[in-house]
Amino acid sequence: MSRIYSNINTKDPIYKKRYEHNKKLLNKVNEIKEEVQKGGSLKAHEVNKKRGKLFCRERIEKVLDKASPFLEIAPLAAYNIYDDNVPSAGIVTGVGRISGKEVMIIANDQTVKGGTYYPLTVKKHIRAQQIALENNLPCLYLVDSGGAYLPMQDEVFPDRDHFGNIFYNQAVLSSKGLLQVALVAGLSTAGGAYVPAMCDQTIIIKEQGAIFIGGPPLVKAATGEVVSAEELGGADVHTRISGVADYYAVDEEMGLRKVREIFAHFPNCKKYELDRVAPVEPYYDPDEIYGIVPETTETFYDVKEIIARIVDNSEFEEFKDRFGQTVVTGFARIGGYLTGIIGNNGVIFPESSTKAAHFIELCCFRKIPLIFLQNITGFIVGKKYEHQGMPKDGAKWITAVSTANVPKFTVIIGNSYGAGNYAMCGRGYNPRFLWMWPNAKIAVMGPNQAADVLCQVKINQYKRDNKILSEEEIKNIREPILEEYRNKSEALYSTARLWDDGIIDPARTRQYLMLAIELSLNKKYDEVNFGIFRM
């Protein structure tokens, strides 16, 4: 493979400006992340501490192997969404190593609304389970939740991807032979009682954990019986009398130690042997990414400069480099693993579509995972291209992406607009992970186009009433539309709604991908099975 030749001049004032701009964007995200990772209010923490309980993030740190990475999923979920502050959607999810196994950890945050489930809490919980299912990961549930957030029960309980789906997933995961372990470190009430009950092995902590279908207040209301939580469904009850839990822990330390023991005795499965050589760091410093990415997403930049700062030794074997150049395709290694990379250098043309479809076929037949570096405004429009059959060629690509049998990983490094999002493996195309850079934008089309379209609609309405709008009036209509549209295209807006798995530090994209590829090896890569390609 040959090394990418970089044209970046780090002494250039534009480089420096971009560097500072992007660092600032990242710092903003990091600051929010830091705040959010503190969990609930100080008061809630005090109460938690008084009960002798650990903060859910402390539990995670304690249960992980020494120096294990922790790949957190969507830490900024629910950011600025609810009237209440619900940091991280009240649940911490992520992958880490426990006793040498890669484990999906799902931990309720008791300090955030008592660990109750908001709509986005459910969505995040289910997303974590989906990742586990797709990557064959065992799960650990650190249970400490009051169950559904009742004021929003209509958005939490009834639908397909709501509360019930959590237990459905547990059963399915278990049926795939994936260990499900629960440590009941707090309340596990009502529907929530099924989280530990549906697990293969469950630990409950003395005078701290409690599992019941109806808590003491409900029991009193229903039957008049007065009973303490410990008597009703405490550790002693469930490990000695009911058998709902399997292990009795006197405190959290012991409980977490037990978790590690359980995972240590779970057989290790053989990983898929993806082609690999010894890893080498990129030749070009990933830190330079900050100086490459422009301040506005309208400005073009060469995706190969980014590839050079992600892949081993900056080596990239480009496929069809002279054809359909608005799509960049090629093979490279990340952490030693062979990967196929697809990036954008402009709007999609018919030939770039067929090129990308061709490349995806290559990767699928060779069982090489695919990485999408998304910076796409959309497909080309105009009479010429419609006549050429743009949708037909676009469909080839979308068919290929949808039915690709290999793991896909998507990083949005700029724009993610319209059908470009589909072709470049947006959320709807089930990438194993999808991350955004702080500068990324996502929407059905660019803000200017959207504002123009919406304005045109308004103008036409007035026209029908024979009213002609002045420039000023048009501007007054357009500006707020543009403003709102821009806000809703931001990475923070996206990540809060779990359209992605998190906003990541661009300079560390390589590490995220390494961990993700490694996780994907827990599951055998499937055989090729494409749909019909419209020819």
Binding site: K271, P279, I504
Partner: protein, 500 residues
């Protein structure tokens, strides 16, 4: 068994670590009984478990154990030993100890106390060299009767001003130009006075780009003297050798012979028996000067053993019991191949080589053809603060220099010690350094290239593998085949501490 019977001797090794094991190996091979001694912290040390018998000799501080003459003699008597081998360091060059051993009717495996006395002191050794026609570094003591300018001119610039009483570089100054001389002498005197309360200084010819080359000598009690191919020991850090090779690529066979004969002359003059080493400085024009005698078996003796096939320690033992030693000097001169040794110390190269003490949690030695490891450590061994932090020596032998260097590199890259810091990676960087590979280096090499030598490239790999093996052995990690060529660490192991 041929070994048993009345010739079976009991030999005590008054040392620890790799050298104790090395010596006990020869003792065993000769059919004798190897007896170890140990301090508190060494109770479970490898040299103790290797021995046939082991005796406790006291607290951890060397003065109370390995340097405790009375205690060792007492132990030797109690254990009814026939002979004592002191190894290197500790009491090896202490004539008092040797005398005590002999007066206790125990055989001393080493030079006679008398010979030791003659060669042990620097000033006596220097006059001994002069008397045997061996060149010494020209020098002059500066007293009131001597004109320093004249003296310096006689020696030829550059000259070195040294404090008579001192060491450690205090009061030492290099003068390259006559104009600086008087001022420098005054400053040196002040410094010497401040440090040693003695302003006496002397002038010495400054040897530029010096090589440190030494000759191994073996002698029996019948006047047979042999010299061995020279050892090039110029690679030093903090005035201590770290890599040695034989033969030297700096001098030719004729020069080596000249050095060898000079060394024999000097040792004959001293009436020296057993194994010993004569050290020389060789300047850039290949003039050589006597430096000192090491009246003991040396750390770097294995490279000589490897290229000549002579077991120096066995011969030391044999001659001590009065056996004649018969070699053909010509055969010893006619060497084939090349050997190189890397000293593996528990120390932090990045931190001025301070000792890195603690417990070795993971230990895995390379296993390669013609690579010899003299080690005093294994998994679980404590590297104590009380003693020299040497762990082991890796000795590679090849048909030529380039092969033995490659072999050493390969061996080091498969040597895994965790979590204490070692000189492994640092030496790997030395071995692959172009200047070193070309054989172009002198005693300034490490100082000159220090930063390059610290650079960690793929040499991080051994540590990574060591971590991997260690953590796997702890049940923390599982899965995956691992070889050096294909370092395929799971990314969840290699990206330690990642948060995101």
């Amino acid at each position: 068994m041929a070994f048993s019977g009345c010739n079976k001797k009991r030999i005590l090794v008054a040392n620890r670590g790799e050298i104790a094991i090395r010596i006990m190996r020869s003792i065993r091979e000769l059919g004798h009984t190897a007896i170890a001694v140990y301090s508190d912290i060494d109770k479970f040390a490898p040299h103790v478990s290797f021995a046939d018998e082991a005796y406790y000799i006291g607290d951890n501080e060397a003065l109370k154990s390995y340097l405790n003459i009375d205690r060792i003699i007492e132990t030797a008597k109690k254990a009814k030993v026939d002979a004592i081998h002191p190894g290197y360091g500790f009491l090896a060059e202490n004539p008092l100890f040797a005398e005590n051993v002999q007066s206790s009717n125990i055989i001393w495996i080493g030079p006679t106390p008398k010979a030791m006395f003659k060669v042990g002191d620097k000033i006596r050794a220097r006059s001994l060299a002069e008397a045997s026609g061996v060149p010494v570094v020209p020098g002059k003591l500066l007293n009131n009767n001597i004109d320093p300018l004249l003296a310096a001119a006689e020696l030829g610039y550059p000259v070195l001003i040294k404090a008579s009483a001192g060491g450690g570089g205090k009061g030492m100054r290099i003068v390259r130009d006559e104009a600086e001389l008087l001022n420098s002498i005054n400053l040196a005197k002040k410094e010497a006075n401040a440090s040693f309360a003695d302003p006496t200084v002397y002038l010495e010819k400054y040897i530029e780009e010096p090589h440190h080359i030494e000759i191994q000598i073996l002698a029996d009690q019948f006047g047979n003297y042999y010299y061995f191919p020279e050892r090039e020991c110029s690679l030093q850090r903090r005035y201590q050798k770290i890599v040695e090779e034989s033969p030297s690529s700096f001098i030719d066979r004729d020069k080596a012979k000249t050095l060898g004969l000079s060394a024999v002359n000097l040792m004959k003059k001293a009436g020296y028996t057993s194994a010993g080493t004569v050290e020389f400085l060789v300047d850039k024009n290949r003039n050589f000067y006597f430096l000192e005698v090491n009246a003991r078996i040396q750390v770097e003796h294995p490279i000589t053993e490897e290229i000549t096939g002579v077991d120096l320690v066995s011969n030391q033992i044999k001659q001590a019991f009065g056996e004649k030693i018969i070699f053909y000097q010509e055969i010893l001169n006619n060497i084939k191949g090349h050997s190189i040794e890397a000293r593996i110390y528990a120390e932090d190269s990045e931190n001025n080589f301070i000792p890195s003490v603690g417990k070795i949690e993971f230990y895995k030695e390379p296993s390669l053809l013609n690579v010899r490891i003299d080690s005093g450590a294994t998994k679980g061994t404590e590297i104590p603060i009380y003693y020299d932090p040497i762990i082991s020596k890796v000795v590679a032998k090849g048909e030529d220099r380039s092969q033995s260097l490659n072999k050493l590199y390969l061996a080091l890259s498969n040597y895994h010690i965790y979590p204490i810091k070692t000189t492994v990676a640092f030496i790997m960087n030395i071995v692959k350094h172009p200047k070193f590979r070309d054989g172009v280096y002198d005693t300034n090499f490490i100082n000159k290239h220090f930063n390059e030598l610290l650079q960690v490239q793929e040499d991080e790999i051994p540590l990574a593998i060591a971590c991997y093996h260690f953590l796997s052995s702890q049940g923390v990690m599982t899965g995956g085949d691992l070889t050096h060529e294909k370092l395929l660490l799971n990314c969840w192991e290699s990206l330690q501490g990642f948060r995101g």
